[in-house]
Subunit: 347 residues, 4 copies
């Protein structure tokens, strides 16, 4: 931590800051500059509470030096983490593709989509049972019934299952049915929910918040790891910016950056990022090229009749085409994609 003093700071003010730093367990190092004094504070920032330093007379600002996350960082663990979820491993050379409808609507359409996306090479079935909706009047999901359908579809096809939890009281329930528990963008800083999924023992898919910085996103993951659950998959799904011609702005640089800062796998959601099915293909290819470990894609039998997100959903045919293009691309990047499944029918 560096304390930058005002140009007008007096010797006494500087001494008072140094004293406060020492009281907080830091060793201060004073540097007398041409225009002002700065004080380097050596010590462990985690161990010390010094939030009010900026209020001491003569202090201009505090510059933190060390990143606030630990367990998620590459300094802590240099090699890539591999997350096992049912039959799938995420984080290695092999790309992991998750696909399925925005919301679970009924058994017949769910199992049909599940079989089709598996055929095209997906390894994880996605589908919402609890839906966080902007309007209280919108369809909110089939809830427990939706979980049962998902789990059954996973068993019948051999796909792992990922679904969102939105209420701390449902974590155990969701964990019984899902192979991967999703924390949605709106709940990325719902810290009680993060702690609860940190204790549930299941892999967690942590979506980035709409306005979360990369550092805040990693800190949210740190909450889960701090509960000793190291099975976290990060998911970039677009951030909110001034640009409204797409639903969100896919922050492709964040994918590359997080791969450098953290050992955790990162996947991309091209459906929510662009908000438009016509953008799903190019954004998926870009995500893989930038280093993502996989994709999570909305696929619906008949997007024009979807309960939600129809605009951004692929048809099974669109998805099959996408997977063909991904399969073509993967080797040129040193990645592999699971061969489309033979019709073995799952479990």
């Amino acid at each position: 931590m560096i304390v930058v003093m005002q140009g007008s700071a007096t010797g006494e003010e500087i001494a008072a800051v140094e004293e406060q730093l020492e009281k907080s367990g830091f060793v201060p190092h004073r540097i007398q500059g041409a225009f002002r004094t700065v004080i380097g504070a050596v010590g462990d920032p985690q161990a010390a509470k010094v939030t009010g330093l900026e209020r001491l007379p003569g202090v201009e600002k505090i510059v933190p030096i060390t990143a606030p996350y630990k367990l998620v960082s590459r300094q802590f663990k240099a090699e890539n983490s591999m997350i096992k979820a049912g039959p799938v491993s995420i984080g290695g050379e092999a790309l992991a593709v998750m696909a399925g409808p925005c919301a679970v609507e009924n058994w017949s359409s769910l199992i049909t989509v599940a079989r089709l996306v598996k055929k095209s090479g997906a390894r994880v079935l996605r589908g919402g049972a609890f839906k966080p909706r902007t309007s209280p009047y919108s369809f909110q999901g089939l809830e427990h019934e939706g979980l049962k359908l998902l789990s059954r579809a996973g068993k019948e096809t051999g796909l792992a299952v990922v679904t969102e939890v939105v209420d701390v009281r449902d974590v155990d329930l969701v964990a019984r049915y899902a192979d991967i528990i999703q924390i949605g963008a709106r709940n990325m800083q719902n810290f009680t929910l993060l702690r609860e999924v940190g204790r549930c023992g299941k892999p967690v898919l942590l979506k980035r918040g709409l306005a979360a910085t990369v550092e805040e996103w990693l800190m949210a993951a740190e909450y889960i790891l701090a509960e000793k659950n190291y099975q976290v998959i990060l998911c970039e799904r677009g951030i909110r910016t001034f640009e409204c011609s797409t639903r969100n702005t896919l922050d492709i640089s964040a994918v590359a950056l997080v791969k450098q800062l953290s050992h955790l796998p990162v996947i991309v959601d091209p459906s929510h990022s662009g908000g438009n099915w016509r953008l799903v293909l190019p954004l998926s290819l870009a995500a893989i090229a930038a280093g993502a470990n996989g994709l999570i894609v909305e696929v619906h039998l008949n997007p024009a009749e979807a309960f939600c997100d129809g605009k951004q959903s692929l048809t099974p045919d669109n998805f099959s085409h996408l997977m063909g293009r991904v399969a073509q691309l993967a080797p040129a990047l040193g990645r592999t994609l699971a061969a489309p499944e033979q019709d073995t029918g799952g479990a």
Copy 2:
């Protein structure tokens, strides 16, 4: 709702959209433009599920016409809502000022601050018992113990008490101790929490999310009103933008706009907006001038030693000065401020 067709849309495609609209309970009105066809869809958008329309062949985009909120709107209720919280009424001519520390730290500092802010004219005591913190390693609040201290300080001073709830399982607990329950910015779209506070019967202070549009903010309030709790106070606390010289960007226009769109009271948090105690005074005056119904301000006995947010906290002296300036300003805007209390020592 208006459906805009592509310039190249065929007659069949247009007919198919009209048919789908009719199936969904709308009456379509076709307008043949110079370059393209648009279809006006007359009907109640709440009653119909037509999310996938954009995926029909030939459709370019959908333009919604009616705002998605109802109960919170001025169309629904023209006159200003007055929210009663303990001894305070919020929403009328009188300004409501809430003040107190970021976090409850101990009895002695809490009761001292409470007495001082009351003396300066505050009517509500703020203080965090459950703190949502970016880092799992930061101080997370005194929890139940903090609630007790707050409630006791409220009783001893005659101030109403506002404090945040972050976990659905704590709503009843918090409701027992608080006069106003706060939903923080990070939980603005924690819909299960919104529903729960909607059912608890206590007034709710709903902070705007860092990246929430005005419409999403009003929709979050709608969740609470939809549970028949009409006692919602909106709180603008700054949004996240590219500008980093302030902690957040106080969206002063949103204050003015929401007063036009909704009957609910709106207050402003100048502490989190600017993130700097030197900005609290000008932002408070601006908020009142723009039409806010009150303020919520962080005040700490010794900001340099605060457990959190010391940089943006006022000392009791700063706060007293602020209240003097607000009192000067209020009459010029047709507002009133409760006269600073005589030292009656509370209830």
Copy 3:
């Protein structure tokens, strides 16, 4: 400047950075931290070219300490600058209000509006002769003819005149007719234009760019002062954010912050900020309360027929009402507003 080394940096890498700093005229001060080394670099950053330091092996990041602007800062000049423009002084206790149509359209409407806004207390007439328009097919202004009309209206009413220049080749021409030359938001970093107006000897109204940080805005002003033109008025007119319910987001905190950082006067444009005439009144009052030195407001005889910006323009009646409210507010803030003019008819 502080150079933060990576945790893994070797002694040789640290020495190499120190050597490079010395070559560039800095004195390095090494601080050995718990996890990493940081190097304080003492010297004048203006005098040295060290942009590539981040590329040296072992370097993690560079943290600048000193603000990059000089002439515009309060360190350089502590007392408020007063800018004289024709009969008006801007920057003191008296509020300066500029008003007039978005674009100069014809003599008759211009002189009528000019007389009306003067009557209501405006001291400067605004009006666009050269209009920067998003579309090449939109009305681009009356150009030279517009300048003549403006200047004549200024002379007939005794109002100072402010108008925008968009082309370096027109600076002399505009300077002949205008009392204040406006640099629009889109040209805030058109550095050749900034230098040219810096040389023209006339006061400059410098609008903040849509995505300009406060620091970049002040640096743009620095360009003008560096040419020895110290007569700069800053104008906050809203920044671009995710929020689309208003045209831009008025950054009211920036007004307060810039008053602390700089000695230059700051005014606010409530018309472009909100993009809606219904917001002009509350935003104007908020601006004054936050410490702005004045306003620039769009006024049109018949907004529904304006060539541009009709949606955000006030009628003369609206403006008269606004000025009444500002006059009520000013004394409560220790400001004054010129008394509405008697009908003396100008120069």
Copy 4:
């Protein structure tokens, strides 16, 4: 255009809007909805001036239907445009890579870099002679001398040359030396400059502004095409968002979207987007995968001593590695990359 009336609009107000539309050359179509009336206005929006409609009594908002750009749209020209610049064609299957230093510093380093990037497969040499700098005290470029060096380096190597113009008075000068004239991000809405390069007959590289929407970017291109210069290459270089861990946020979706909306080629600047040389490789691969027609990359012999942008510059070795990876990727996407040049040495 759709005019949405307020729920409370009277029959007379609706009739007045229809009358005004007719006066402006539109045919109004009234649709009586459940809650409000909307009026479809059929006609050519380019031909009509109706900006003030929002100010008519009873009007809630105006919804434009037709995109405001024409010449740049795929509706106007369905097939991809190919831009010829010296020996290079941009816009087809072959990827075009532009590389070179941020600023031209001296002959020896320029020609060395030029030869090295050509060897690695670049076809265009980039280099700044006129540098738009945030600070008036920073290095502003070698100006005319820089142009001469660039042009000579282009001739000696057979590379086309791209360089930025920042002043309308220099357009002719720059056009004499450059094969492609660059409009920088800060000048994207410098409309006089756009018109001037529209008249100069040379291909133009139009960088997207930091806060420009896709529509505004295309409208800026429209300014150039409207002057009958159809040789425009669009360049995405990152937008400004709340995320500060990268210099800008590469809007990869905009690349995909613009390829759908416009026939113009689009390239990506991974250097400015990420602001960090470690991100240049993944962002370049992502750009190509998303459909970009090429790249513009900063390369410097010794980034640690670059006059500017050293942090984001590649060394020639980094660049050679990048080009190897791009060459591997291209065929998997149906693209080609010019084979690395044999050492023919140019002119």
